[in-house]
Symmetry: C2
Subunit: 342 residues, 2 copies
């Protein structure tokens, strides 16, 4: 089972094989691959031919070791199945697919401790950039990010005091806008239904509260939350709880679209008229919101674009021109639909 030391890599061609075949020095091959302009037209052709013929693929580990810099983007998200983060991740992947950069994706499970652990781990690879979801890192995580020695982009939210760069939007404004829309539409006993209640959910709740207080409508009994992970069935249950607690409820701002969908289904089931008896607003605007019956008003957020923008900013910073704007607010859009068209 133990292979001889030479060719430990299982016979894969190395840069020296290519160099020999092309009749040049190894370093020239390296340059031809990384900085083509620094190698003469002719040699470059010979080298590329040799690369092709041997099927040479550079070893990223050796490369990283020699250059003290891995061509890796570290990406940290709190969930892999939540469509919201999946979209951001997709934007990141799509933006990097033609670049030499690989992606190291970590799942923090909404845990600060897990985030610290992963940051520690990622740091050991000397990544080219780090993209992390959220702006509420623990002090330890923040320090790790500050000392990472690479561009850092915090995504999903904007806020003061970025570690380095930020792309996102204001969840507080989003919550406020959603709530104000319900108020304008004539709803009065407007509930807030939220699950998981991570920091972004908290800020959406704060936006809801601000709008309600401003209109003189706030009542703590209108708020129904749980730390449990969000789901459609949970939305249904929380809505039933909310109704039991406050039978005069005539509208709900849901922390996210899954909850909103659960509310809608429960309304169907209980023959509650939407939007007449109850108005519903979701958050994120998943694709199905506009197809639902009735279609559901939601706050559209630009998740995919956040991913793309984060990569663009990181790449710019790597290339040396750090963007003027260190905090980019991509905003959101209120999508008015049938669920609030009273």
């Amino acid at each position: 089972m133990i292979k001889p030391r030479s060719r430990r890599g299982g016979g894969r061609p190395t840069i020296s094989d290519v160099a020999r075949k092309a009749g040049v020095g190894a370093i020239t091959v390296s340059r031809a691959l990384r900085e083509p302009v620094r190698v003469s037209e002719e040699l470059r052709r010979q080298i590329l031919a040799a690369v092709e013929e041997l099927g040479y693929v550079p070893d990223p580990n050796a490369r990283a070791l020699a250059s003290a810099r891995a061509e890796v983007f570290g990406v940290l998200v709190p969930s892999l199945t939540n469509n919201v983060f999946a979209e951001v991740v997709r934007g990141i992947y799509d933006s990097l697919s033609d670049s030499p950069f690989r992606i190291q994706l970590g799942n923090t499970h909404y845990s600060g401790l897990e985030e610290e652990r992963l940051l520690q781990l990622f740091g050991s690879q000397r990544p080219a950039a780090l993209i992390v979801a959220g702006i509420d890192q623990t002090p330890t995580s923040r320090k790790l990010l500050e000392n990472a020695g690479c561009p850092v982009v915090q995504v999903m939210e904007t806020g003061p005091d970025p570690v380095d760069m930020m792309v996102g939007f204001s969840h507080l404004d989003g919550g406020r806008t959603a709530t104000e829309h319900l108020i304008e539409a004539g709803y009065r006993r407007i509930g807030f239904i939220g699950a998981r209640m991570d920091p972004r959910s908290q800020r959406r709740l704060a936006g809801y509260r601000a709008a309600m207080e401003r209109a003189g409508l706030f009542d703590p009994r209108l708020v129904t939350t749980t730390p449990v992970l969000s789901s459609v069935s949970l939305g249904r249950e929380l809505f039933r709880d909310a109704l039991a607690k406050m039978p005069t409820l005539d509208g709900v701002f849901c922390n996210n679209d899954d909850i909103a969908l659960g509310v809608l289904f429960e309304c169907h089931r209980a023959s509650i008229d939407v939007p007449k008896t109850i108005g519903i607003v979701g958050f994120n605007d998943l694709e199905m919101m506009q197809v639902a019956f009735p279609s559901i008003t939601s706050i559209r957020t630009h998740r995919y674009e956040i991913g793309r923008r984060a990569v663009a900013m990181a790449l710019a910073a790597i290339a040396g021109d750090r963007p003027q704007e260190r905090v980019v607010d991509l905003g959101f859009e209120l999508k008015r639909r049938e669920s609030t068209a009273r």
Copy 2:
């Protein structure tokens, strides 16, 4: 005038720093970390103390280079946002979070060419294992997998002739079971609605067809498909097309739950009674299927478990004991719900 190259890595402690501090050889530190039993109790304690004090984290790149083996699982899926693959990926992440293995995730966008490119790229890292979705690799991809020199697990489906190992279930049987259920429930003009039509969808269609033909009910006009990426709104549109083409339709087997949801919403919108006028069966059993009104019959597939099992098999193979069963069929379950309860 020779400047020391030392500390290119930005002052991060190395294994020699730890060795010096603990008063041992570098190799002993390496062993203490990787094979603790081979180092005496006492030295181990000293070394771990030094590691702790210096905040030493091994450089995975150097490790990979020296050992000709990276502690990386390569994972290839066709989509990052499709909940089905997200669940599999989550299972993989959860199973590996306590192991030293990192994950390299690739998105093939349902493209064979992209899969080849990524396999090539992943191979250059000498991964510890490869997990790929599907069993329909191109000949080139198959060769790359066979020559990867590491355990390979094909997931999502079972079939003959695995590259190495497989975990999944039979999509053909799934399609057949779903269709037979509709037939048994008394539906006759049962349509098939499918989007994207990747190989797994094709086999679900084949299962549908087999069941329909066996019952003497098959009619090609009952089949409505498109290569377009699946979505809820697409489900709605396809259902309208199907109805226009075949107004006597009384049931649909949907390629996946997104489509089924689109169909359900369109039925609401057009006041078509479900399950009386139209019966609906989905595929995958997303969480919301049981909350929908009416709740939607679906084929539950064990995506998270597939991810976990794939990792378990790969880890076993890495440890040297290749499982007896190279092909594991995790099956599926028909979840009967209101949408077919005529």
